[in-house]
Structure formats: C-alpha cells, structure tokens
Amino acid sequence: MTQSSDEPLWDVVEVSKAYPGVQANDRVSIRLMAGRIHGLLGENGCGKSTLIRLLSGVDRPDSGEIRLSGKAVTLDSPTGARALGVATVFQEFSIVPSLTVAENVFLGRWPRRAFGLIDWDTMRRRSREVLAELDIALDPDAITSTLSVAQQQLIEIAKAVAADSRLIILDEPTTALGLEEIAQLHTLLRRMRAKGHAILYVSHRLDEVTALVDEVTIMRGGRVVSAAGNTAVQVDAIVSAMIGGDVKDHYPKERNSRPELVLEVKGISSEAGVDDVSFSLHRGEVLGLGGVLGSGRTEIARALFGLDPLTAGQIRIDGRPVRIRTPADAIRAGLALVTENRKTDGLFFNFDGRANISSASLPRFSTFGFLNLRGEVAETTALARQLELSRGAEDKSVLHLSGGNQQKVVIARWLLSNARVLILDEPTQGIDIGAKLAVYRLINRLTAAGCAVMLISSDHEELLAMSDRIAVVQHGRVTDIRAPKDLTHADLVRAATTKDTPEGRTAA
C-alpha cells in the first residue's frame, strides 16, 4: 500500500537449490509486487514446487538471496515465513476437518484469555470480520468437514488474511473446484489484489491463468525461461515457452468416428441424480460431456458403470440390451471407467505397474481360479512398450511413477480388459502438458482401434478440441448434444451458469 509500484514486495535473487541428484532451482529470480497477481507456470518437475518451498520456509536455498521490501531475510522455517507475512495454500489443505471454521481460520493462533483458555468470543467475532471482509458467506461455527472442498479452500485464504499475510501463494488451487467456484475464488483474489496483497498463483489450467494473472514467470528444468513481462499473458505464447517450442499439435485431434453404434443409452435415471439421460456413442467416437462440477456428469458415468443403481432406462451395447448392476457386469459388457481421482480409487500403491494393469482382467487370466502369470507378464509388458511407459515401470511400485505414467497405467488397465467404451473422467487433471499430450494421443489410438470414448472434462478448450460431439449436462440432464464447431467456449460457460438452453434437447 505504501509500496511504490516498481519496488517489489518480495525479491528473489538468483536462488539455487539442489536435492540429491537434481538441481531443482538454478539461479531463479522472481519479483513479486504488492497489488499484483503473478502466475508461476511450468511443467511438472520444472522447479515451481521447489521455489514455493523456499518462499514458504520449508527448505532453505543453497545460494542466492530473498529480500523483503529490499532487505535480505532468512526464511528458516514455515513459522518464520508466516511471521514475515507469507501464507501458502498448498494442494493438500492444512485445515482440520473436525474443527469449526473459526477455529481453522485462527488455527494455532487462537486468541487466549487468562490461564491459556481460548477466547471464543474474540475468535468468533474476528473470524466473522475476516469472512465479511472477504465477502465469504460461511458460518464461523460450522464444522469444516461438512463444507464443500471449495468452501474449505476459502477458509485457507481467510486464514492467510487473518494472519495478515502480505504474500499469498496458491499451489494449484482450482484442481478440485467447479467453474462457479473458480469464478468465486478469482473474485476473491482480485479483491485481495486491490487491497495490496501480492499473490503468487500456480496452476496447470492455462485458460484460467490467463484470465486472472497480471504477469507470468515460466520455468523449465529448474530455471526461469521467461521472466515477468517477457511473455504475453496468452495461452499459446505460454505453452510454447513452457515446453520450449511451438506447439502446433497442442491438441492432436484425429477423427476416427465410424457409423456403427456401440453404446445406446435410453432414458436412464439413477438415485444419485441422473435424470432421464439418453445418448449414443459410435465406434471410434469421442463424446464430450460438458458442464460444471456437480452437474451430474460423473453421476452419469457412475450409473453406466454399475456404481449407482439405475431407477429407469435401458443400456444397449452393440444393439443388445445389457443389465449392469456391478462394475464387474460393466467390465464384462465392455465398459471401462477411469475415475477423476487416480490416487484414491484408481491405483493400487501396494502393487507394481504390472499388477495394476491386469487388475481388471483377472478373470481373463485365470483358469479354475489359477492365474496365468506368464500370460500376464507377456501382455502387460507388450502394452507397457506400446504406451511408452517409463522403463521398468511394470516392475516398480506405481508409487514411484510420475503422474503421467500413473495415468498411463490406469488407461492401460482398460486397454488390457478389451474395453469397447472408455469413460474418462477428468483424465488430464493435475498432469503437465507433456503428459496431457500423451493422453490425447492415447485417445486417438483408442478411437483409431474402434474404441468409443466418453470424455468428461472441465477444461473447455480440451473438451472442444478433443470431442467429436459434446453433450451439455446440467442438473443431471443432457440438455444439448452438438458438434464442437457449433459450440464455443462461451456457450459452455453459459450452459454452466444459466438454468436452461433455449435450444432444448436434441437427440443424438
């Protein structure tokens, strides 16, 4: 606030940090101005996280200097960094689910009365003030675990404000948020910018970054490859700086749709909120499902896959009606589901890559209950080669694989199960551009082989680029099915926010 606009609040000067075997940061400089939102971008492993760790006091740099308002400071612990006004919202929240909103806002700094007793009145009053200041409509007495992920995220930010932090670092804050919630978060961040906070914003979702930030710093291989002001805040420019080249095939879409129908869904409803949904899927086709988080896209996938019981409707595969009551039925019918959370319900971290790949094909590999281990090795190895999985990934615990390779393992599982219809729920969430490209190429390969794909994605660019047709989902209903060329980014956003589209429903 008293800062002149050209003097940085935090000035990181040529810091380097090495971990065993890797130079994670190599003479990295970044200037964070008060009253500006600064985007920090780069592929996984480019050194962003390391820089955040240095600024949050988690790690200390080997060399270089970090200055606060021109004075060199030492950030020797997270507590020390907080005391200097740095608040970091990590991907994994640091809030306690069983406590109230107010308790979390003042976590670890609860106002005290005599004898160390907590001053509840002051804490409630001050958290109400902080929440009001940020225009966050939350009850300070609500138990945090009853709130949505998005609301919990807001608490993290309220925490930063309550601690009087001048610098707020957000690491991938929108991975778990829907469009409306992202918009709400952005509004909040803009308001904080106006109040003179410096904000460092890390995200993989370039469309939202370009909509929000004032300047970007791009890192690659531990170095800053484009400092603030050098790259236009615009998707194509950022992408080419990030991956170090021009990306013509940012979305390498191939059209492989054939006339034969594979999947016909007629009027299905489920208790989880799917409401009279009909669509069809052709061989080699990619059907995108657009809509906001909570619009019912994931629920449609769950209903198809036998996870939520159907209350009405019919599913046909290759013209034959099928009854799907369990995932095992769905897999037998030729369906496959790659869920949104590969860490929680996709991967077996107790298994190597091989057993992860074969987990949905065990019936095929067994005779009288005995597994054909040799066949399993042969087929999984061949598949791993085909998908260009990192070397030896089949024999390593998947814990040690990169996000992109983990995603490949999960998709490989369904290639091995001979799936005819693959449902991908947010398949590129939280993975870097290189790995995203690999997923897109995989989609192409699958469709070229005649597999049909149902793509659920909150990344509208991706949805528009990779789909042959797009079904817009709202409140558990498919409100519209159209070719991507007849839809724009704006249409999808509008469909996500308005109650109904005037076009109504067009059958597939």
Binding site: F348, N350, A355, S359, S366
Partner: protein, 332 residues
C-alpha cells in the same frame, strides 16, 4: 515379482538369524535335538493359525477371535467325541466345517454389515471363550480318542507329522497368494478397496473368503491342540490370536493391508517361538515372557511404520560413505 518377494523375506530372516544366535549363545541346551524337535512342535500350531491371521491382514482386516475359537472348537470336538460318542474322523471334518462357518460369520459381519473387523472379532474373542465355558460346566474333557494323539505325535520317515502340515499349508497358502485369482484379489482389496471395486472385483466376497480361510486354519489349529493334549479345554488358545498376529507382523505383513509375504509369517512365528524357547531355557518367568512378546510386537510394527525412513537413512549413510570414498580417490 519374485525378486520383490525375496527382498521381503530377507529382513525377517535376518532378524530370526540374530535371535537364534543370541539364544544359542545364551544356553547350550538350545541346540539339543530334543529341544529343537520340541520347538518345531511348538511352532506348528501358532504358525498354522497365523496363516489365517496373515491372510486377513493382507485383505485389510484383523482377526482377534482365533484363540477363543480354538477353545470353543476343542470343546465342541471333545463333547461330540467323548460325550456324544460320535466317530472321530467325521467329527474332525465337522470341526473344520464349523471353523470355516464361524470365519464366514466374521466375514459377513465385516464385509456386508460393515462392522469393523477389529470389533467383530473382538466380540468373537470374548463370546467364543464364553461359549466354550458353557460346555461340560466349564471343565476340560480328557482322554478323547486313542486315534487323536497320533495326529500330532505321529511321524513319517522319522519326521514328526506337524512338520508336514506346516509345509503343506504354507505351500498351499503361498501358491494361493501368488498363483490364484483369489490371492491377487485379496492383495488388491487390502491395498485399495475402492480401486478393487472399480476393477470389477467383488470386494465383499473376497473379504468374506479371507475370513473363511482364517476360520478353517483356526480349526486346523484347534484339532492339533486337542490331539497334542488328547483333550478339549475352554482355556486353550489364550493369547494365540495375538501370537498369530505377532507372527504376521514380525514377518513384515503391513497392518494397513495389501502388502506382505505369507512365508515371512512362518519366519515370524519361528522367531517368536525361538525367543520364548530361549526365555524358557534361561528360566525366565512367564510374566517376563509376556513383556518381551509385547516388546517384539511393538518393535515389529515400529519397523513396519518407519520402514521407508529406515531405508532412507541407511541409503543416506551408504551414499555419504561413497561420496567420501570418492573424495578420497580424487585426493580432495
């Protein structure tokens, strides 16, 4: 996969070697052939019950009911053979079936009624002991059948029969865990039940099977216990469930589920029995033995929890030494 398993066996084997060395040095009676064969007989019952305990742990559960179930099954066996005068062999078969059914009950309560297995089997631990006391007014029944004792004390080619049981059941369990679909599904369910469900695995059925196997192995243990003493008693099998779980844990089975090697449980059982044997030979009172068993479980679980840290610090030490060696070579 094979290399993976060998590496898992190595730690428990080293621990067992160390324990054996210490015990052998503490008393020269340890290596006495009589003592060794007694030790083998002693380990057989624990190690067989531990197969079930381990498989339940692999599937992500825990079975605390086996010790009391042994008591109940010995009393059922004794009552049927001695009081009701039923023929021995069909009765033994019946005991195996009953054990399996009681295991199935544990499984159904856990998997289908979603009561945590810790609670289900804790209830079993208490209730089965009570049920066992309802037979014969709570008194043991002796001298069951002349054909019962040879099941435990008989030998074939000069080797006691329990040795063959251990080899047979551990062989079968190893084949099951590595080569069968059920074994793989047990590891999958224990490792990540949500992912297992999405892979089309019937999680509840797999969990129930794991408990059925545990019930069956408990019945095997009960039969051997009856045969060893030619009797049934409501006091048999006290803390057997804990020894079985300890064998699994000392063998390196992760209590979080999904990880471990069944053969390591045999090593774990041997380790525990060797320690007990060493304490006996050194005339340690049974109170001390309990304290030591407690400490062993604590250390084994600690090692399980801190495994990654321990590996990292050992790795760090090695790296540090290597880089120092390099410095020396470079003459800096």
């Amino acid at each position: 996969m094979k290399r993976f398993l060998d590496a898992q066996l190595l730690g428990p084997l080293a621990a067992m070697g160390l324990v054996t060395l210490v015990v052998a040095l503490s008393t020269d009676r340890f290596l006495d052939p009589g003592n060794l064969s007694n030790l083998a007989l002693q380990v057989s019952i624990v190690s067989l019950v531990a197969i079930g305990a381990t498989i339940v742990i692999f599937a992500g559960g825990i079975d605390l009911s086996s010790g009391s179930m042994v008591a109940l099954l010995t009393m059922v066996l004794a009552t049927l053979v001695k009081t009701a005068g039923l023929p021995l062999w069909p009765t033994l078969l019946g005991v195996l079936v009953l054990g399996t059914l009681l295991g199935a009950l544990n499984g159904v309560l856990t998997a289908f009624l979603r009561i945590p297995s810790f609670i289900v089997t804790l209830a079993g631990l208490i209730a089965y002991r009570g049920l066992a006391l309802m037979f014969n007014a709570g008194s043991p029944i002796f001298s069951l059948d002349p054909n019962l004792e040879p099941i435990f004390y008989g030998s074939f080619l000069g080797i006691p029969l329990p040795f063959y049981y251990v080899v047979l059941f551990y062989g079968a369990a190893t084949v099951m865990m590595i080569n069968t679909r059920l074994g793989r599904e047990i590891y999958a369910v224990g490792g990540n039940p949500a992912a297992a469900k999405l892979s089309g695995i019937n999680v509840r059925r797999v969990q129930t099977w794991a408990f059925c196997i545990a019930g069956f192995m408990t019945a095997v243990g009960a039969i051997l216990m009856s045969a060893r003493l030619n009797s049934g008693s409501p006091n048999y099998g006290q803390t057997l469930e804990l020894q079985a779980i300890a064998a699994a844990v000392v063998g390196g089975a992760s209590l979080a589920g999904g990880r471990g090697n069944i053969l390591s449980t045999l090593v774990g059982a041997l380790t525990i029995v060797i320690v007990q044997n060493g304490l006996n030979l050194n005339a340690a009172p049974s109170a001390v033995q309990n304290v030591i068993l407690g400490l062993i479980i604590l250390v084994a679980v600690g090692v399980d929890m801190w495994r990654s840290e321990i590996a990292r610090s050992i790795g760090g030490l090695l790296r540090g030494r290597m880089s120092k060696a390099e410095e020396v070579r470079r003459g800096t």
